[in-house]
Amino acid sequence: MIPTAARPPGVAKAPVYAIVGNPNCGKSTLFNALTGLKQKVGNYPGVTVEKKTGTLYSQHGQPITIIDLPGAYSLAARSPDEAVTRDVLLGRREDTAQPDRVLCIVDATNLERNLYLVHQVLDLGRPVILILNMMDLAAQAGISIRVARLSQMLGIPVIPCEAVNGKGIIELKLAISRHDLPLSRHAWDIPAPIAPAVAELQASLVSNGGKAPLIARAEALLLLTDQDSVRVAGSAPLDAKTQEILRSWQSRWEAQGVDWAGTLVSSRYEAIGRLASEVAQSAKPSAQTLSDRIDAVVIHPLWGWVVLALVMTLLFFSIFKFAQAPMDWIGDGNAALAGWIRGLMPDGDLRNLLTDGVIGGVGTIVTFLPQILILFFFIGLLESTGYMARAAFIMDRLMGHVGLNGKSFIPLLSSYACAIPGIMATRTIEDPKDRLVTILVAPLMSCSARLPVYLLMIAALFPGPTYPIAAKVGIMVLMYALGTIGAFGFAWLFKRTLLRGKPPLMIMELPPYRLPRIKDVLLQMTERAGLFLKNAGTVILAISIVLWLLAAYPKSPAGATATEQLAHSFAGRAGHLLEPVIKPIGFDWHIGIGLISSFAAREVFVSTMGVVFSAESGGEDTTSLRHALNAARWPDGRVLFTPLVCITLMVFYVFAMQCMSTIAVVRRETNSWRWPLFQTAYMTGAAWIICFIVYQSGTALGF
């Protein structure tokens, strides 16, 4: 083999490295340790998988690009994450150059399974540096690894390392700086019944697919392990000739009863077993580890629920406790900024566009940022400690009833605070259909932006202090329950109709508990929040401006009050236009305006009602608004906000999709406008139908 194969001819620049490893092996920590803050985070076009690249300076001061590939257990991909890792390594993606060299990081406490991926990567014929991470934990567990022997057997540099403590990073940088990285001399025999098929597929991939011989061989091996030949976006489809060869071999084997995929996996593990028995020794038989003892409580049939409830309570407590102050500051900041612009610019439409449209609209979203950040922080914390997997394990059975698996639990739960982090957290769900179903139903969980609407309606429902608090709380709980039942009901429906799929697998590693690295969690939090602002920002800005235009034009005659202006505007007219549609559910055009303006964020309903009924808005205090609502009448003198209408309105807010940020994020996460539009239609349609049933049967019953 020629070592210079490492660098494609004609490319004189520094080699590009990719970091590859199993999930939970410390890959992100190593990437952060190598590149510091010199990272770029984005998305792979066509799929919502995070693309991270960073720069490291070699010994000679030369910048070296490092791509942090998503964690994978195997190159025979099961999830969009793994598919990206496979496709980048095989040079199938047009947006990412094939890495010249690969850094394989493995968890030293779990050598055999981690080496499976390494074994596949070695087939690619690129120079590989093997990093044995968590050597300290391995030593604690009584595992000793003969590093030099492993390096000798594989013929590649092997660097022991503790990425968390920064140990081994210098040695690793030295290895990365080397110009003459050797190719592995590890060879394994492809099992006899399969070898001719691999040779034939390889030859076809070279001649018909235009692949380099070693890549073609690796591809051929993957085709035989990968059951699903569907290629994710960005991948080149398999050429027809190769596909035919593959199919004919598969049918031949099926007739003979040869389990080709199983045989291939087993023979890899046999080769790995020989390596491992030579280099690794376990001194003590696996005793109870700290993780085992923690799990005895955390997954206990009784205590498990207590711990889960505590963790979730803590999450929501911190959101409501710690988000309020920064939310107020941001609100004040927005007001101050708007005031400053008012002082700076002459009165006019441009000024109002800036203060009411841009600052008003975008500001409303930014106000939710503290909540979103706290949620991202918590999700990151749950992921990095290993508790996320436990929560999924405990909840899997319940989620299984509606056809989802335990991994949908945390995204749905987060959506009680805000659907945006919830939807972004669905990236951990491997099956694309399960992920989509979770995204589609997540906004049905009552988020915190609905709270002001619920509170206002409950206040209008029970004016005065004479009503028992239990009734108010009961209504509130009912609304949350309704949203939850709705979410599970629609998930069940979608899994049976639109997105019918195989029952999701629950083959998941329960990683050992690790102390979280706050620095890494904070970094991830800011990256995710940045992605949200970047991706959703333009859509939010555009819709804010449109909403402002609707409320500001056409102009009323001079001297009109805010209430008259709004009634006169497009939004007011739209409210009137909407009235025939919403009259059957008990709403008039005033409420119609509120529904339209809620599209910016549901809580905007409250301030719009203030303008519509010309009530003094006093921030937290909605007493005057409540009086205005209770005084509102239909033209024929009937009371507008009857108890039934208050309830119906709350039910409408439970189900309807009225959040442009969520729509923007769903567009981003599903990569098309189809799903957010479908979601808006089904949620708002369901809201109308359910409200119609509630209002009409309520009216018939004499409420």
């Binding site: 025979a76 499976y116 389990d259 319940l398 998941m508 590693e509 990683p511």
Partner: protein
């Protein structure tokens, strides 16, 4: 050969050796790729609080799988 049972029927806390994995389209390959092979020793650590999924320990790490997936795996219990 000693008596074999399905992994889904193994009592909690028991150790066993994998004897057979039924071939299906999706789960069996991933189980094997995760290191669950004929001859692999494993211990059934626990069931989830609601009875499903299961948690097994093998090759020094913990893996979860649903009972439906575990019923594809035939194991030979080891004498305690």
């Amino acid at each position: 050969m000693a008596a074999t049972v399905k992994l889904s029927a193994l009592p909690v806390g028991a150790s066993a050796v994998v004897r057979d994995i039924q071939k299906t389209d999706s789960s069996s390959v991933r189980l094997r790729e995760m290191g669950l092979l004929v001859g692999t020793e494993l211990t059934l650590v626990r069931c989830a609080p609601l009875g499903d999924p299961l948690e097994i320990k093998m090759r020094g790490y913990h893996l979860t799988l649903r009972k439906s997936e575990a019923s594809l795996v035939t194991v030979e219990p080891k004498e305690p």
